[in-house]
Symmetry: C2
Subunit: 332 residues, 2 copies
């Protein structure tokens, strides 16, 4: 099992990537980890590194504010692009990056390449739910516009992901909509609804954004634009509420004392709402496994992304998606 890590991606690169990789390499001796990036920066961090970790020098890096398509096309020697090339050429089974999300989606599309039969790969993060189980939402921004057949593929890929990764035998697929009745929605959702009913998934119908946190489905399907708006509404509302709470709680001595007593509960709540806690987001529908770790990933988050990759590889995630997509396409 070979995993390549874009050592230069993320806010704490290369330190957190190198440290997370070392921990993983110590934990799983059967795993080979390749760090791609600026050797001069990486080497000093690799004191006492286990032998199953190697470094490949990359002369360039993609910055957080680089324009994705341009950067991927021009910076052939960027750590992210080189990692993608290693997956495409079979030199690695999976790549992980905490770098520029747009650039990683472009690397997935242009360098790693789409899976046969998949029209649009999807970015599929886990969103928090109040019961702690989370919901896999896709697409959350890889493709702004979607056709009905893309949404059906998202549903199939998401179902396999939850089966393989979380051991869910019959994960519930919901279609993000403005009401629960079958005929609700815009042209896209009305057209895709009967197609989802016929697909080889456990479709539970339309779900409303207000119920997503209440765990009303295991996979939430939507187009990338709507999904991204929903995700940011969720984050923004939670963030604004915590800010106002903080102001209320520091109003005077009494409220500060009271807030101190409630702090463990508030921390639990904040942690629950922090979707960064829920692992990296896979890019589904590519020829190889690509995982987007959060930009602010620390050592632990990188280690978790590697664990996630390990689970996916052990459970033949990509091969299973590929054969299911082929079956769905031939059944048309």
């Amino acid at each position: 099992m070979k995993i390549v890590i874009d050592a230069m991606g993320g806010d704490h690169a290369p330190k957190s990537n190198v440290e997370g990789a070392c921990e993983a390499a110590k934990m799983w001796k059967d795993m080979e980890i390749i760090l791609v990036g600026d050797e001069a920066q990486i080497r000093p961090l690799l004191q006492d590194a286990p032998s199953n970790i190697t470094v490949v020098h990359a002369p360039e890096r993609i910055e957080a504010d680089d324009e994705p398509v341009k950067a991927v096309r021009r910076k052939k020697g960027a750590s992210m692009v080189m990692a993608g090339r290693m997956v495409r050429e079979g030199e690695a089974d999976c790549m992980i990056s905490a770098g520029n999300t747009g650039a990683l989606m472009t690397t997935g599309l242009l360098v790693v390449g789409r899976m046969d039969g998949v029209e649009r790969p999807a970015l599929a993060p886990m969103l928090p739910t109040t019961d702690g189980k989370g919901v896999l939402a896709l697409d959350l921004g890889a493709n702004m516009d979607a056709k009905p057949e893309h949404l059906v593929q998202y549903a199939i890929m998401g179902s396999i992901y939850r089966e393989k990764m979380h051991g869910m035998p019959k994960p519930r697929v919901g279609l993000l909509n403005v009401g629960t009745e079958a005929k609700k929605g815009n042209e896209l959702t009305k057209e895709v609804f009967p197609m989802l009913e016929k697909a080889n998934i456990h479709f539970v119908g339309n779900v409303e954004a207000r119920d997503v946190l209440e765990s009303n489905c295991d996979i939430l399907v939507c187009d990338g634009f709507v999904g991204n708006v929903m995700l940011k509404s969720l984050e923004g509302t939670a963030g604004s509420l915590f800010d106002v709470l903080k102001k209320e709680f520091t109003r005077n001595f009494m409220t500060k004392m009271a807030a101190a007593i409630l702090m463990p509960g508030l921390k639990r709540l904040k942690k629950m709402m922090d979707y960064k806690e829920h692992g990296g987001a896979p890019l589904l529908g590519l020829q190889g496994l690509v995982i987007k770790a959060h930009g602010s990933s620390d050592k632990r988050a990188v280690l978790n992304a590697i664990r996630q990759a390990r689970t996916a590889l052990e459970n033949q995630l990509i091969a299973t998606i590929s054969s299911e997509i082929a079956g769905n396409n031939s059944g048309k």
Copy 2:
């Protein structure tokens, strides 16, 4: 000034509607208020009613779970439909209803009628912001799919609403999008962006859903599907967070004591996030003024909706929108 109220609409009908109307009639003697609904239920509530309040009997009513288009077409004698007819025929200047939202939008479209030059009327509620000023968001569900020219009309109508209703001289229009850069988004937002730049409004560019609560614009423009998803994400997140907070705060004796001290602050926060506090939502782009009061409206909420109607009528809202839309269309 004549205002007609659908007395049978809303969860507390007809009581809250009749009581709110009576208060308004006493407060503003120059106003004529017409209550449309079941006379047998309304009359007993009208003891000591001022003389500027009258009743028109309606033999039917639209229920909360009626299918909108069917109900409006078939129930010609429903209080909501009769109120719409009175606006269309000039017997009233404005109608207010706390009833079935879908049916009210259908009544607006089929009974009151579209304003000349407006292709799609929009539902435009105020959303809460942390600074208390609020943001007018449209469309939040009247039309699921929208074309670029519809969004331009939403922007114009929303700008006039905030100028006339809230005395804002140059309200900021934002386009709901997945990023702030000009080229971000789906086909719709990319196409409408340059059109909004050219329109006779104060366009401030793309805004992200995560910043909406932070008051980054005064009018937020989006298609009805996306807007509705955003609204429900916002409501759902706030609701779920309050539920979890409640659980944390009632965990044991100490947390209960602490929570009691913080209660006033929590109540302020909850009130701030309750978009029901922010008045009724106008349906903009119709030949007459139609205001959707919240389904759970009490006496005070009905009175507030009447006050809102009064402000709109005093400030020539509809006539101003009509002339601006005509100017925009002729300028094409």
